[in-house]
């Protein structure tokens, strides 16, 4: 029942938001709705029995598909991330004004419903439905409220991901066709072992869609532009939660269904991921635009997670689980800082900023903590995940670890460089009159920072939560 609620609350409140014309009340409405979702999500952590976490209803009997949702450890973790992300985003962007704000918040809530559906669906066709549905609202959000080049950029994003999904759809159809039970349900598909040839074709059909979504080098070209052009609230959704869809789908569908092909192609995938990490880190170093810098650093992080997944040992996969959550928190924190900077100074160019720390010490401290978490310093949350992932990757192959480790060094360089350029140094005409953040913004950044430390110092609950998912995945993979 709770699983259904997690989709229904944002869906219904999202549709309702279209009818609230007053900007102030629609903001409150969206915040209340997202908090309600958060409460349900926390509730689902406490009630882990079948009655609360599984929902199933007949849907398309001719096609062998049913409307079935289920919460497992990984699902709980990601729905929790989604549920935390949205209130944080709504509060952090509270100051931004949007024309037709009712449509903006309605679409935001609808995209949350789509994301929840992706993380909850235990039926492959239903999963595909939500996979697409999460995309459509984001397309509208970015095209309507984005930056100057928003229309072509988001269009490229849409067509890119849509093409990937369509190829996956063909794969889904073949999966259904091959499965003797003629069913899309997860249990039935997990039980069936696909033949060697089928696996090798289907693997790539699915992987393409997920690789575009994550994105993995060389399918990442849509990502920096889209992050840059989207309104910051949407960018937070995209980078904080939506890229996890790709990783999640690899864990939920790709690896358990086609373990043999995944083993066979692990060197290719990990190779691509590692190359992508270095490539993205190098490009991040020469960026002047804050949004693009964060975008490229995100590609590097996702690359590491993907590589650790395909290494296929329990320690690496465990690291990915932890890191999926932590990366979502950290990157939303980074976006909040970017948003605050841009709103105050009207620019995101590092070369035009400087010396903000003198004028806005609170903002600077928060940023430093979040940025250090981004480069996985010990005691921060990302350290736990990255340590586990590197450990897993090391067990797989030493050389990949060495190359991937290089990207950590690069990450340290560009992140510290950014802090130095934006927050230290001398003030200039733009930053002279900077004021510090208000309590509202402090609160939201404090939540992020607390989460960073809490997860960094005491990651055990998160590891416990996802342990069963990791074990079942690794046993399927062996």
């Amino acid at each position: 029942m709770l699983a259904l609620l997690l989709i229904l609350i944002p869906l219904i409140t999202g549709v309702a938001a279209f009818f609230i014309k007053n900007e102030k009340s629609v903001k409150t409405w969206a915040l209340v709705a997202s908090l309600a979702t958060l409460i349900v999500s926390l509730w689902s952590l406490m009630h882990q029995d079948n009655y609360h976490s599984i929902f199933s209803k007949e849907w398309l009997p001719d096609l062998g598909s049913s409307f079935s949702l289920g919460l497992d450890g990984m699902g709980r973790m990601l729905t929790l991330l989604t549920a935390i992300a949205f209130p944080v985003i709504f509060i952090a962007t509270n100051k931004s004004t949007y024309k037709d704000s009712n449509q903006f918040f309605g679409l935001m809530l609808l995209s949350q419903a789509g994301l929840m559906g992706v993380f909850l669906a235990t039926d492959l066709l239903l999963f595909y439905f939500f996979w697409e549905l999460a995309l459509v609202p984001v397309y509208f959000l970015s095209s309507k409220w984005g930056g100057e080049r928003r229309i072509p950029v988001t269009f490229k994003f849409f067509i890119y991901t849509f093409l990937g999904s369509l190829i996956m759809l063909v794969g889904i159809l073949y999966v259904y066709y091959i499965n003797p039970e003629k069913s899309f349900s997860m249990a039935s598909l997990y039980n069936y072992t696909f033949g060697h040839k089928a696996q090798s074709i289907l693997f790539w059909m699915f992987f393409l869609a997920f690789a575009i979504k994550m994105p993995i080098f060389p399918f990442h070209t849509w990502q920096p532009d889209t992050y840059e052009q989207s309104p910051t609230a949407t960018t937070m959704v995209l980078s904080g939660v939506m890229v996890k869809m790709g990783l999640f789908a690899v864990v939920r569908w790709l690896l358990p269904l086609f373990p043999e092909a995944a083993h066979g192609n692990d060197n290719i995938v990990i190779g691509l991921s590692v190359v992508g990490m270095i490539y993205a880190s190098c490009i991040a170093m020469v960026q002047d635009d804050l949004k693009r810098l964060v975008a490229y650093s995100s590609i590097a992080h996702i690359g590491l997670m993907c590589a650790a997944l395909f290494a296929g040992n329990s320690i690496g996969v465990q690291g990915v689980m932890v890191q999926m959550f932590n990366h979502g928190i950290n990157i939303i924190g980074l976006w909040v800082v970017v948003e605050l900077t841009e709103r105050q100074f009207g620019t995101r160019k590092m070369s035009e900023l400087g010396g903000i720390a003198q004028k806005a010490p609170a903002l600077a401290i928060m940023l430093v903590i979040i940025a250090l978490a981004n480069i996985a310093l010990p005691l921060t949350n990302a350290f736990v995940g990255e340590f586990l992932m590197f450990n897993g990757l090391y067990q797989f192959n030493v050389w990949y670890t060495v190359v991937a480790g290089l990207s950590i060094i690069l990450a340290a360089i560009y992140t510290l460089n950014m802090i130095q350029k934006v927050f230290y140094g001398n003030t200039n005409s733009i930053t002279e009159n900077a004021v510090d953040i208000n309590w509202n913004e402090k609160l939201i950044l404090a939540v992020v920072v607390i989460l960073i430390f809490a997860m960094g110092v005491y990651p055990k609950p998160m590891i416990e939560l996802t342990k069963t998912s990791v074990e079942s995945l690794v046993s399927a993979f062996k």
Partner: protein, 459 residues
């Protein structure tokens, strides 16, 4: 049977009521009454209760597949008349005659959906086509309309000739016009049958505008008065597909090796030609013409894979495609400017209309939650069941991604571009009807069984 007879009768009634009712704005009410009568008649048809006892000598066969399609066609026509009936009256002075011709087309649709004999196939297709030649040229003062009707006529009658040649070859080899083709033994007869099948396929490909026989479509759809384009591109075109599917399932289902690969090539050509050309269009009306070609490519999957999924799928496709296209055309008729720029900023002036058009467009593009997705899904699934060719399916998917490009241009124009496009003469009733169509599309996309597909098994 009921529908076939009554639609012809009501066509005559329409013409005569034109004599007695001077006010031409009443024409649409007579037409709506007629359509309601036809729907009742169709209800009896579905339950095999025939109001007219006549010996048809097994030349027509009223199976649930065809009859459910007739229901869809009648409901679509009803929606069409309700939405665009007023526009029909604006085309010229002969409103009653136009509606009468629409009823004659419906008679042809009825025959095409239930023929069991090649003679009936020929008659059905011709009864559908000839009134359309007239309707295409209905705007007599407009040169484009005249030329479109000329072009349509020339292409239509030429394809009729090809179809007749195909029929005559089948007749020469087997001695019957029945759909059940007896086995032939001699090599020469075998060749005649194969040639006949290919010629019939070409003729029907002409009628449903499949590549490489599609070149007339954009010109004719563009030139014809927009109201009639709407009707031609939906009900009539899908009826052509129903005829196509029934012919290839009932008559040639056992000989798939003869024609299946040819159809696959036609599908690929249609999808590529339709989608690629649609990308370069500046006029929404022309874009819709090309989009109808690309949708035809998807519907041809049902012909390629004659099985139960294909039949369910083509019914769903018929409903989804007719609803969405009629809806878009109904809005298009109300616009001043038919180019993409003409839609710039429509969302500001008419938020509801823009939303509805977006739903129709999303359905045509095949985004989940709309009927368009499930119908495309059924088509691809059916072809996989029929041992589908992977390259063909991948081509279809790539083309579907291309189609997003031109469909979304409409959404971009309405929502993201600045402009002051406005629809003229939009009343609440019009909007309410479009809402009904959009809700139906979403219901069909979420839960098609209760609304449509279960009937296929019950009846």
């Amino acid at each position: 049977m009921n529908v076939i007879v009554l639609s012809a009768v009501w066509g005559v009634v329409m013409m005569f009521s034109g004599l007695f009712i001077a006010d031409k704005s009443k024409a649409k009410y007579v037409a709506i009454a007629g359509l309601l009568v036809l729907l009742v008649a169709n209800y009896f048809d579905l339950h095999h209760k025939f109001l007219f006892a006549s010996s048809i000598g097994n030349m027509l066969q009223f199976e649930s597949f065809g009859m459910i399609f007739v229901t869809i066609a009648l409901l679509s026509t009803l929606l069409y008349v309700l939405l665009s009936g007023a526009a029909v009256e604006k085309v010229g002075n002969h409103a009653y005659e136009y509606f009468a011709l629409l009823f004659f087309v419906l008679c042809g649709v009825g025959i095409a959906a239930s023929y069991n004999n090649l003679l009936m196939l020929f008659l059905g297709i011709e009864i559908m086509s000839i009134p359309l030649y007239i309707l295409t040229g209905a705007d007599k003062r407009n040169l484009k309309s005249n030329e479109a009707s000329l072009k349509y006529f020339l292409m239509g009658s030429f394809s009729t000739g090809i179809m007749l040649l195909g029929i005559v070859l089948l007749y020469g080899a087997t001695g019957t016009f029945n759909l059940v083709i007896p086995a032939v033994s001699k090599a020469s007869e075998n060749m005649m049958v194969s040639a006949g099948i290919v010629l019939l396929a070409i003729a029907l490909a002409f009628k449903v505008s499949a590549a490489p026989f599609h070149f007339w479509t954009p010109d004719v759809y563009d030139g014809a008065p927009t109201v009639f384009t709407s009707f031609m591109a939906t009900v009539v075109k899908v009826a052509g597909f129903i005829a196509f599917v029934r012919l290839f399932e009932n008559a040639f289902g056992g000989m798939t090796d003869v024609w299946q690969y040819t159809i696959a090539l036609i599908i690929a050509a249609t999808l590529i030609a339709g989608n690629i050309t649609a990308v370069f269009q500046q006029s929404v009306k022309r874009m819709l013409a090309y989009s109808s070609i690309s949708q035809a490519g998807f519907m041809l999957f049902a012909v390629y894979s004659v099985n139960a999924f294909a039949k369910e799928g083509i019914l769903l496709y018929a409903a989804a495609y007719c609803l969405a296209t009629i809806g878009i055309f109904a809005v298009l008729i109300k616009m001043k400017d038919f180019t993409f720029e003409g839609f710039n900023g429509l969302a500001k002036q008419q938020p509801l209309l823009a939303l509805l058009v977006s739903i129709f467009v999303l359905s045509l593009a095949g985004i989940p939650l709309t009927a368009g997705f499930l119908s495309k899904y059924y088509m691809v699934l059916a072809s996989i069941k029929a041992g589908g060719l992977l390259w063909l399916i991948i081509t279809a998917m790539l083309c579907a991604a291309v189609s997003v490009y031109y469909y979304f241009r409409l959404i971009q124009a309405m929502y993201f571009k600045e402009g002051d496009a406005n629809a003229i003469d939009v009343n609440p009733r019009f909007k309410a009807l479009l809402v009904v169509a959009a809700v139906l599309i979403i219901l069909l996309g979420v839960y098609p069984n209760a609304l449509l597909l279960d009937w296929f098994h019950i009846l």
